[in-house]
């Protein structure tokens, strides 16, 4: 406990020494946030929301932001042709290419941001969001004017130098005006394998009839800690989809929360986690059906090997007047090793009476008969396992409609699976 208090105090002290020239509204928000954080502290496993995910590796030490230094251009897989790309290193702006009107650096001069930034991702009750809000340095703003249609993906790249003890707080705000449409990818990568901590918060607002397809690809280093929040809000007939590919990091916790706040709004939350060794990956989703006639779909798939551990907790809230809600949630897991584990739990809180909510969870192994079938055709055991595992996982990527993006993700997935150290080659 003492260590944790020390850790909390260190953040509060460090906040007090920050010198930033910012508009008052933002400084005020940050002050509120650090106050909340000092009360909440880093969550422990006594907290129901973190029952299976210990943050001791965060609370057990002090963290410093990275000192500004020169960094070589990071080697990242890009997503085919992009409309714009903006790169950050340890949370600080690094470079931008393409149409920078879309991928603009966050500055104090952006008038429109005050009403939005920090207004959606709740820092009152979430300590890590509070910490991000207090500390984020630069941020990515994707602002789509009314009716703007961006055909090519917008790519935000968050690079961690991967130095042990360094924390960064990436911050993204996606504002989609009425009838606008875009795909936004956030890639999280590391330059080295140290125990660096990345604590991102992304806020997505889809105004009336806007469509946002959001993707996160997390391929951080083997000792990295990743705790991310995506907070979405849709207005009438708005649509948000977010697909999270969580492959890297020693500890990854992804909170995805969407509020369907207007009739006919829809969201699709999907995720694919592929973990191995001692990796721990946790997805917590919350869909808040606050209006009638809204749909939500969730499909999270996991491939767990080695001694890895997975957690999935999917909460669906249906408010009293959210009649005709249609909510589907599925979590499917493939355990490749007897030591891998998954805890999966749906959580439905339904206050309306005319709704359809379905949920399901499966935990299985590779089908022995299918493996034999492949082997009986000459395909080696390791390759057969790889093929079946890939097929299980790639099924989720069929939801990615933008072809270059899908190719990109398939490539990333293929590489992740073939790096599997447990797959012994038989030749």
């Amino acid at each position: 406990m003492a260590v944790q208090q020390q850790n909390t105090a260190a953040f509060v002290e460090s906040f007090a020494t920050l010198k930033r020239s910012e508009p008052t509204w933002l400084a005020d928000r940050r002050r509120l946030a650090i106050e909340r954080f000092s009360l909440l502290g880093i969550p422990t496993t006594h907290d129901e929301e973190y029952k299976y995910t210990s943050l001791k590796s965060i609370s057990g030490q002090t963290w410093t932001p990275s000192a500004a230094g020169s960094v070589e251009t990071p080697d990242v897989d890009y997503a085919g042709e992009e409309a714009a790309r903006i790169v950050f290193v340890d949370g600080k702006f690094f470079s931008a290419a393409g149409d920078t009107l879309l991928g603009a650096r966050l500055t104090s001069g952006l008038a429109n941001v005050e009403g939005h930034l920090t207004r959606y991702a709740d820092f009152e009750s979430h300590a890590l969001t509070a910490l991000n809000t207090a500390f984020f340095a630069d941020g990515a703003l994707v602002e789509l004017p009314e009716k703007a249609i961006v055909e090519k993906p917008i790519h935000i790249v968050w690079v961690s130098t991967g130095e042990a003890g360094i924390v960064s707080h990436p911050r993204t705000l996606i504002l989609a005006g009425r009838n606008s449409q875009a795909s936004v990818i956030e890639s999280f990568v590391s330059l080295a394998d140290g125990a660096a901590w990345t604590n991102p918060v992304t806020e997505i607002i889809a105004e009336e009839n806007a469509r946002i397809e959001h993707f996160q690809v997390q391929q951080q280093g083997s000792e990295a800690i990743h705790t991310g929040v995506v907070q979405g809000l849709t207005e009438r007939s708005g649509y948000i989809s977010t697909i999270s590919l969580s492959f890297g990091a020693r500890l990854a916790r992804n909170d995805v929360r969407v509020k369907l706040n207007g009739e006919g709004a829809e969201c699709a939350l999907d995720g694919l986690y592929v973990v191995n060794g001692k990796q721990h990956v946790d997805h917590h989703t919350v869909i808040d059906h606050a209006s009638p006639n809204c749909n939500s779909h969730q499909l999270y798939k996991g491939v767990l090997d080695g001694e890895s551990r997975g957690v999935f907790n999917g909460k669906i809230l249906v408010r009293r007047d959210a009649q005709k809600t249609d909510a589907i949630q599925n979590n499917k897991n493939l355990l490749l090793s007897p030591k891998a584990e998954i805890d999966t739990k749906p959580q439905l809180e339904i206050d309306a009476n005319d709704v359809r909510c379905t949920h399901g969870a499966t935990i299985g192994q590779l089908d022995a008969e299918a493996l034999f079938y492949l082997q009986a055709r000459g395909i080696g055991a390791a390759q057969a396992r790889h093929l079946l595992t890939y097929a299980f996982a790639a099924d989720l990527l069929e939801r990615v409609k933008v072809q270059p993006l899908r190719d990109h993700f398939e490539h990333v997935l293929m590489r992740t699976l073939s790096e599997d150290p447990n797959a012994e080659e038989t030749h």
Partner: protein, 254 residues
Amino acid sequence: MLEVKDLRVRVEDKEILKGISLSVGKGEVHAIMGPNGSGKSTLAGVLAGRDGYEITGGSATFKGEDLLDKDPEIRAREGIFLAFQYPVEIPGVSNMYFLRTALNAIRTHRGQEELDAVEFIALVKDRMKKLKMDDAMLKRAVNEGFSGGEKKRNEIFQMAVLEPQLAILDETDSGLDIDALKLVSEGVNSMRSPDRSIIVVTHYQRLLDYIVPDKVHVLAHGQIVKSGDKGLALELEKKGYGWVDDLASGLATA
């Protein structure tokens, strides 16, 4: 080609094969007939390398080499092909990708160059045409949503592409209507060659009108109770499997 001697196999403490001996020469076609549960699929599975069997006695060699220690994929690469009684559905893996991976694994093992996409397509289209199959199935997932007959035909198609030296067809005729049966038989017959041996496992004499075997064996209660030429299949058809039980009890008390 294949020499099986006094092979004894247990599954979960139950003896299923009780001393099977079988010799299949190069270019020969043998039929194995027998009632449900007699051990036909077990024999086929043991030869192809399926898991879960305990071999308690006897031996099996293929081209003079001990077969039973080898992994299933090695057996396949060396020329054994099992057409499954119940072909497996594999969602997410296309027939095309599956078959090309298999063919190239086999070719590499034999020291042949891998086929590129163009060569592969040409080969596959040729084989599909012979079996009157629709190209569209190549893009579909392996056996997923295939009818019973389509699955069986797909097995024969795979055999035609992979060109094994010993094909074991486990009840490939069940579930086929007469037209499909003819097509499948033609497919099998077109693959008969002096270098290729075939074992057809079947319940029904009907298939053997089309694929005429050199030898017929009757399997009952884990033993080959009678062997003969194609006339044996006709005799069996006439006398029924009750006759086989009599033969088997004769063996058991002998």
